[in-house]
Symmetry: C2
């Protein structure tokens, strides 16, 4: 069973990485780019068989390690 986790900065939190990408894209001649935000994407392979239990466990992993919940949001998708 695989969990796909997205960790993104909360709205309003400055994103210097996203800003750097935005400026580089403009420097390369890509116009019409209004905003860029960079987050993390984490794939976790689990031995669990119950999707609900797996999701709860991954949420606990996010709270304890994967996300800084002061400034970051996370979302979890479970694939069978």
């Amino acid at each position: 069973m695989k969990a796909r986790v997205h960790v993104t900065l909360k709205n309003g939190v400055l994103d210097p990485q996203g800003k750097a990408i935005h400026q580089s894209l403009e420097g390369l001649g890509f116009d019409g780019v209004e905003d860029v935000r960079q987050g993390k994407f984490i794939e976790i392979e689990l031995s669990d068989s119950d999707p609900d239990a797996a999701k709860a466990r991954v949420a606990e992993m996010c709270e304890q390690l994967l996300a800084n919940t002061v400034i970051e949001d996370y979302s979890i998708e479970i694939e069978a």
Copy 2:
């Protein structure tokens, strides 16, 4: 129009960040974790109105800047 880009390491490419997360999760007492891979997640807000043209442009951004295609794969989703 928003593009959601995932940049992930190709299979077989060593992922020290993923390995560090894996070990930290085990250290925190999460068992049953078989593998962890970390990638990047980039959200791009575009002024384009044609989804197909937007996807082609974002693919070009990935080739030129966002992904190192020697070791990374990318995938693009366009949201209206």
